[in-house]
C-alpha cells in the first residue's frame, strides 16, 4: 500500500512540476544559474575557461533552436573574456548584450570604456564574426579543459 501511495504521489508532484514548467520560456538559459552557483560555491569547478566553454555551447544551442539568449549571458561572457585577457572577444560579447537588450546600455558602455579606453561604443561597429569565432574557440577551450 505504501509503495502505491509513494508512486502516486511522485506522479502527482512530477505532473504538477511539469504542468507549470511546460509553459514556454522566453529565453534559453542552459547552464547559466548552475554555473553561477558553482562559480561561487565550488570555484574550481567553474573557472573562467570552463564557464566560457559552457556559455558558448549554450549560445550555439540557443541559436540552433532560434531561442533568444537570456539577458545577462553575453555580458557575463564578456566579463569572462576580459578575465582571461581576450579583449576583442570581451568587447564583442559586451556589445552583443547591449544590442540584444538596450536596457544594458549605460552598464555596458561603462564597462567597455573603463576596461578598454578609447574603444568605440557603437553596437553597429563590431565584428559579429569576431564573436562567432570567439564563441567557437570557447567550445574548443572546454574540450581542452576536459582533456586536462
Amino acid at each position: 500500500m505504501n509503495k502505491i501511495f509513494q508512486v502516486l504521489l511522485m506522479v502527482c508532484v512530477i505532473a504538477g512540476i511539469n504542468g507549470c514548467a511546460s509553459k514556454p520560456t522566453l529565453y534559453h538559459w542552459g547552464s547559466y544559474e548552475d554555473m553561477l552557483y558553482k562559480m561561487y560555491v565550488k570555484p574550481s569547478k567553474a573557472t573562467p575557461l570552463i564557464q566560457i566553454g559552457l556559455i558558448t555551447k549554450d549560445i550555439h544551442k540557443a541559436n540552433a533552436k532560434q531561442y533568444k539568449v537570456a539577458p545577462g549571458i553575453y555580458a557575463h561572457l564578456g566579463m569572462l573574456y576580459a578575465q582571461i585577457g581576450d579583449a576583442p572577444a570581451a568587447i564583442s560579447a559586451l556589445k552583443m548584450e547591449k544590442k540584444l537588450f538596450p536596457e544594458s546600455t549605460v552598464m555596458i558602455d561603462g564597462l567597455i570604456s573603463r576596461a578598454f579606453p578609447g574603444v568605440s561604443l557603437d553596437v553597429e561597429e563590431f565584428d559579429e564574426n569576431e564573436l562567432i569565432s570567439a564563441v567557437s574557440d570557447g567550445q574548443d577551450l572546454e574540450v581542452k579543459n576536459e582533456v586536462e
Binding site: 509513494q6 502527482c12 508532484v13 504542468g19 560555491v41 545577462g72 549571458i73
Partner: protein, 216 residues
C-alpha cells in the same frame, strides 16, 4: 482522511498552484505608476550565519525575474563591478545611493534582498532546512517601494506535523541531497512562489507578449 481524498487534495493543490488567479488584495498602484523594464538585483544583505547564502541566492533569482518579462542585470557581473569599485561586502553594496546606481547602471528598479534565515536547524526529533528572505523592489527615479515579497521555504527531515508533511518530506529528502544544494533548491522554490504568486507576485514585465483580445 481517506487515501483517495488525500490524493485528490494533492492534485487539487497542484492545479490551484498552476491556475491563473486574479490579483486582488495587493496594492499594485505604485508598481503600475512605475512600470519598470529593467531590474538590478543587489547582492543580498546577509543576516544569517551561512556565509555562502547571498551567492546561493544570486544563483536562484535571475531566471525567475527575467522570465517574468524584465531585463535582469547580470548578477555576477554586477557583484564583480561593485567589488572592483571598492565595495567588497554586500553591506557596502546595499548602501550605495540610488542616484549612483542610476548614473552608472541606469536600472528602472532596484531589488534589495535581506536574508533572514538560511540553512539547517537541528531540533529534537528532526532537522529543518529554512530559507527566509525579504525582497523589496524600489523604483530608482523616485525611491518608492513598488513591490515587496516575503519569501520563504522550509524542508523538514525526519518527521513532520501532518501526514502530508511527512510524506512530502520523505520525498524531498530523496530528491535533495544536503547542505548548499539543499538550500539552493529551497531558495529557488521560495523565490518562485513569491514572485510568481497569483495574488501578491511580481506583475508581468514588458518582455511578456501581451495577448490582444479581439474587440467585439
Amino acid at each position: 482522511m481517506k487515501l483517495n481524498n488525500f490524493i485528490l487534495l494533492v492534485f487539487g493543490l497542484m492545479l490551484v498552484s498552476c491556475a491563473v488567479t486574479p490579483k486582488t488584495g495587493y496594492d499594485y498602484s505604485a508598481f503600475e505608476a512605475a512600470k519598470p523594464k529593467s531590474i538590478l538585483i543587489i547582492p543580498p544583505l546577509n543576516e544569517s550565519v551561512e556565509v555562502n547564502a547571498p551567492y546561493i541566492f544570486l544563483s536562484t533569482i535571475s531566471k525567475i525575474v527575467a522570465e517574468k518579462g524584465y531585463y535582469v542585470f547580470p548578477v555576477a557581473v554586477i557583484d564583480n563591478y561593485f567589488k572592483q569599485n571598492g565595495l567588497p561586502t554586500s553591506a557596502e553594496m546595499n548602501a550605495v545611493k540610488i542616484e549612483k546606481l542610476i548614473e552608472h547602471l541606469n536600472p528602472d528598479a532596484v531589488m534589495y534582498v535581506t536574508i533572514n534565515q538560511w540553512g539547517q536547524k537541528y531540533e529534537v526529533v528532526r532537522s529543518r532546512a529554512v530559507v527566509k528572505t525579504d525582497i523589496k523592489l524600489v523604483e530608482s527615479k523616485t525611491g518608492n517601494t513598488i513591490w515587496q515579497g516575503d519569501t520563504h521555504a522550509t524542508q523538514t527531515s525526519g518527521g513532520g506535523d501532518s501526514l502530508l508533511e511527512i510524506i512530502l518530506n520523505a520525498m524531498l529528502g530523496q530528491m535533495i541531497n544536503n547542505g548548499d544544494s539543499n538550500t539552493r533548491m529551497l531558495s529557488y522554490q521560495a523565490n518562485n512562489s513569491s514572485i510568481n504568486n497569483g495574488y501578491s507576485g511580481l506583475p508581468n514585465g514588458p518582455y511578456i507578449p501581451v495577448v490582444i483580445e479581439a474587440t467585439p
